[in-house]
Subunit: 375 residues, 2 copies
Amino acid sequence: MLKLNSNGGEIKLDPWGYSQIADYEKLFSLFGIRPFKELLPKIKNPNHLMRRGVIFGHRDFDQILNALERGEKVALLTGFMPSGKLHFGHKMLMDQIIYYQSIGVDIILAIADIEAYAVRRMERKELIRIALEEYIANALALGLQKKNLRIYFQSNMEAPYYRLVGMFSQKVTAAEFSAIYGEISPAKVIAVLHQAADILHPMLEEYGGYKHVFVPVGADQDPHLRFTRDIADRFSGELDLRRPASTYHRFMTGLDGGKMSSSRPESAIFLSDPLEVSASKLMKAITGGRATVEEQRRLGGEPEKCSIYEMYLYHLLSNDADLLDIYTRCRQGKLLCGEDKKMAVEKMIKWLEEHQRKLEKAKNEAEKLVDVPRF
Amino acid sequence: MLKLNSNGGEIKLDPWGYSQIADYEKLFSLFGIRPFKELLPKIKNPNHLMRRGVIFGHRDFDQILNALERGEKVALLTGFMPSGKLHFGHKMLMDQIIYYQSIGVDIILAIADIEAYAVRRMERKELIRIALEEYIANALALGLQKKNLRIYFQSNMEAPYYRLVGMFSQKVTAAEFSAIYGEISPAKVIAVLHQAADILHPMLEEYGGYKHVFVPVGADQDPHLRFTRDIADRFSGELDLRRPASTYHRFMTGLDGGKMSSSRPESAIFLSDPLEVSASKLMKAITGGRATVEEQRRLGGEPEKCSIYEMYLYHLLSNDADLLDIYTRCRQGKLLCGEDKKMAVEKMIKWLEEHQRKLEKAKNEAEKLVDVPRF
């Protein structure tokens, strides 16, 4: 935390939004998630999401760093739920994936088509289209490389993966399901066991032999992770499985102050939004501005509550000094929302224009990277 | 039914044990299972189990006969639960399989290793051994041909099969599970959905395109069948699945009058029992004899209650006239249990000796007929 004299006197400042993580404090104290910042000194070139506290927690990620240091095989596993269009919230996860790929981590992307079908009851043709055109194509356009990359549909795997699904069912109980998920239904059983197999199958001989696996998730996913770690423990003898590590990231706030979600188009800017639509959404977004210009000049804005500032922090400004400058000027009442928004829109449009050009090309590539299920 | 004058006056006789099926009458009236005997005139060479009422009921098996008549593809699907040694009760099912293969039906044998592991909690190495050495080897020794035969382990299938498992989970409810199986547990969900995929996957393009499927089962399996038929209905649009047909057979009584079961060695003669053990078991078996020889000569025996007679009916006498002769002489008090047992033991030993010779050879063949899972 940085302190500076603003018009309002000495106040605590929090340019990286660490204060928001306070909501997550109980994850540290109650659930044993460790603060990510304790690992920062061990990471050579932490990316902006690490430096800025977006990735705020972890389980056993120190072991992943050690394994990388020793030159052992490490894989990042994440699941894509192909339920709608990709927005900037998703981009944050993609950026993590691409960063890890660049430092030598194998990337394994599971398209959770069985979960999307069974639990979210999506039509299969549509979810396959979304997986290809939205998730895979965008990931490629964002810079995902084809090297050290494996993408698969859950419903298109090989026997050893499904054998895990079947075997796991022996050592989990209906009571555990009810405790963790509030209910037990056949679809939930299938979805949860597939998810555990997604995370643990890369450790099998059939998938290249043991490798350390970690999963970058939002804090809401931690119950899944803990369950999967328990399953790994229960099969540590029979199948030589080990606990996966995990990292936890904050989520972007929705443009309207609510949850950012594909199902509420007004809450998110999609990476495929027409430029004018994206600009208009950002211009209307909620900010940390005061009631009047006079008040804002006097008290300064509140970037911690501002979705424009979030766009800078997550996406639009890679340089920390630039970000700090905007933060400071806003805080000091020198940068007003109108000017700030225009600047953000400009940066975003420039980025989106370039991205959408790449996206068109990437759409043709997507299908070549994954076996598409016939039905 | 045949009537004849015995010492006790005119009585109703039932050489094929149809009276025992009376227990199953409610299956006909309540659950819509049809009597198998109505189909007998349409079957060119019904096997002894059909002729003698061991196979007593069916669902839609008339459609299977029609399909065969029209030269359409028909497959028999049955699941082997590799939980113990094979006994004469199992042989009865094997005989059905081999009969159907001989009249042009494709045979698909599912080794229910996932169910054996998840629900019965068997050790995987052991269940794989039992599947090979007991089930497959015995089937071969009994005459199963390699032509038009597919044997698989549930845990070793291809993606489209498991995709069914996953997709089925969308359209079945926890309430249905509880209603049919009395409980819902992750292992049961997995087992039941695998079983449905066993029965329905042969209809998929990936498995050679649509074919009519039927399943020969004991009446206790009918809830599974009905559930699978419901699932087929629910996917008749999306996946073009159709209801499987089924036949229902009686079970042999245990040698001790209880249930014949691998887990109670005294109740069953195993096909691999040492000859002297098998002989001793049969000599001790429960019969339909009277309290004294005098009484038996006067009243006649009761073959319907006799496990020796069952051995003739199911296994040891292929000729109906021979069986009827024994039945009649027993009924008339002319054939006493001692003589009868000796005759049965002799026939069984002769058969077992020959079978066990074939079994030794077949053990080497078993592994070549199926892909064995690594774990």
